[in-house]
């Protein structure tokens, strides 16, 4: 630790505190305030919990909430695929570095670009359906984005396809820090690939798994705007609207900031649960590390 006069650390932190106050703290306080007002322009009369009543009576809000929660189902899928592919890379089979680069490639493309490209690939007469028909899988050639019952699934598919790159690289990086001799010993003892994964690798990377689950859940709840905006704009109808898009639509497009703020508070409540879980995971990991686990 550096010995300095007592006011010095505060000088170093002042710009950060100021920045966080302007961009996070003050807006978050105001979003609570706005959610209880009938906002016209910059403020408005206090109306209690009416905005909350309005959004919970709004079928579109219910759809948005439902879809955001449904998108959490992507998390286990992402987890399985990223761990599976990371272990395959970890085996360091020939050209594994090339495969790592390629598997990470979709993650490098900007989300809006991925969304736009996918929106054309999944068109009714687009390349995906033509390819399916060409190999005789006509029945799978559905209207991916155009039909209400399939659209959210397609959005989820695109999200998983891009986000899995991050999971793979994350788990691979964690596995690279493992003690290779343990795995070698397990291998010599005749443990198969799945047994090594289940009994040697997974227990070691538990903290990374917890971290990933929390981060991926937050992504699904609060970072999918760019996908939905470019893939479907929430349609057809409200079939793929999510919380983020709802807040954007209600606040910016329909200009009812009070209702949008109430929805933002609901979203913040959901993410707060996840933030608490993140802290819990970090705390457990720190404790495990302190115990030399």
């Amino acid at each position: 630790m550096l010995k300095v006069r007592s006011h010095v650390p505060y000088l170093y932190c002042a710009p950060l505190v100021l920045l966080l106050a302007v961009i996070f703290a003050y807006p978050i306080i105001r979003v609570f305030d706005f959610s209880t007002r009938l906002i016209r322009g910059a403020s408005g009369p206090f109306i209690g919990l009416d905005n909350y009543r309005f959004i919970f009576e709004d079928p579109t809000f219910k759809e948005a909430l439902k879809h955001s929660v449904l998108l959490l189902l992507c998390v286990p899928v992402l987890l399985v695929f990223s761990i599976l592919l990371a272990t395959l890379l970890y085996e360091q089979l020939p050209a594994w570095k090339f495969f790592r680069t390629v598997l990470f490639l979709p993650y490098i493309l900007a989300i809006p670009v991925v969304g736009i490209v996918a929106s054309f690939m999944f068109q009714l007469h687009g390349p995906i359906n033509q390819a399916l028909e060409a190999v005789g899988l006509d029945r799978l050639a559905i209207d991916w984005l155009g039909q209400e019952k399939y659209a959210l699934m397609t959005v989820a598919l695109v999200i998983v396809a891009r986000e899995v790159g991050f999971g793979i690289v994350l788990f691979l990086a964690r596995m690279m820090t493992l003690d290779a001799s343990q795995l070698e010993a397990a291998r010599i003892d005749g443990a198969g690939w799945f047994q090594r994964l289940r009994y040697v690798i997974l227990p070691e990377i538990r903290w990374t798994v917890e971290f990933y689950v929390v981060v991926a859940s937050i992504t699904m709840l609060a970072w999918v705007f760019s996908y939905v905006y470019t893939l479907t704009q929430g349609g057809p109808g409200t079939a793929t609207i999510t919380m983020e898009l709802y807040i954007y639509n209600v606040g910016e497009v329909q200009s009812t900031p009070g209702m949008a703020s109430a929805a933002a508070v609901v979203l913040l409540a959901f993410t707060s649960v996840l933030i608490a879980l993140l802290f819990f995971a970090r705390w457990r990991a720190a404790r495990a590390e302190a115990q030399g686990a």
Partner: protein
């Protein structure tokens, strides 16, 4: 990361072929969107309507000049570069100062600041969208570079502090002690000892934040309605509407828009991966 190079020679197992096959399959899947973009961007529109899947023949490069026509792309590109550079520089400076204090000095409120910081890393930007917009409208900061730079710097600051503080903490204590004995001030220690040693962390941070700002859509959409100030990502969505009936030109545009970050990735893959995984590997 150095563990990555340790050679692990072993007998090949029969299941290796199955694993290799799975990897090839996954790799093909990962290549599909990029291949579709590449192939379609060099087809003529007629060819695309006749044969969506077929290989392009003859190759048509006119789509790229059509996409770049009118210079809008250049304007969007310029705006994205200005915003990314401004936000990343501001965020890095603010974060480096605070991380230095958090990691290397003792003071009251340090734990609180660090926990708040971690919590803010995961607050969705859309929560702040409405109040920020109203606030920025009052302050005349909507449709200005500096307003949006401020927002991006703020949104990336928590991760930046987190990453830099975890790196600064690994620097040996003796370093500070001997520098203090030599009479170096804290500012001097930060500037001539800590920052030079933290170069890999700084490079990682700059790359990760650049990627984030460059790809951001929501804030850019709301805070930069002015035609002249649109970013590349917003421009790309305008393109989607305009060329929905001319997919090859659209794909050429998407390819141009993706090129800068793809090149940055291929050049600094190591730093990318290190930065993106930094949050999970250390506590």
């Amino acid at each position: 990361m150095s563990a990555a190079v340790q050679p692990r020679k072993r007998r090949r197992e029969r299941s290796d072929y199955l694993k290799q096959a799975l990897l090839v399959l996954a790799a093909i899947g990962a290549m599909i969107p990029v291949s579709f973009m590449l192939m379609t961007s060099v087809k003529s529109d007629d060819q695309y309507s006749d044969d969506v899947l077929g290989l392009p023949s003859p190759l048509t490069f006119g789509n790229f000049s059509d996409a770049l026509d009118g210079g809008e792309f250049l304007t969007w590109f310029k705006n994205s570069v200005i915003l990314t550079a401004g936000a990343v520089i501001a965020s890095t400076i603010v974060a480096a100062l605070a991380a230095f204090a958090i990691a290397n000095m003792r003071f009251r409120g340090r734990e609180l600041l660090l926990s708040t910081n971690v919590a803010l890393m995961v607050v969705p930007p859309v929560v702040m969208l409405i109040p920020l917009f109203i606030q920025f409208t009052e302050l005349g900061l909507v449709s200005t570079y500096r307003g949006v730079i401020l927002i991006y710097a703020g949104l990336t600051a928590p991760f930046s502090v987190y990453l830099l503080a975890s790196f600064f903490r690994t620097l040996p204590n003796e370093l500070f002690e001997s520098a203090t004995i030599d009479g170096a001030s804290h500012a001097r220690i930060l500037w001539s000892i800590v920052l030079p040693l933290a170069r890999p962390a700084l490079v990682t941070l700059i790359i990760v934040n650049s990627l984030w700002v460059w790809n951001e859509l929501l804030v850019a959409l709301v805070f930069l309605p002015d035609e002249q100030l649109k970013t590349l990502m917003v421009g790309v969505t305008l393109f989607q509407g305009r060329y929905s009936l001319n997919v090859p030109v659209l794909m050429a545009g998407m390819l141009v828009a993706s090129a800068p970050m793809a090149l940055l990735y291929l050049a600094g893959q190591r730093y990318f991966i290190r930065g993106l995984t930094a949050g999970a590997l250390k506590g």
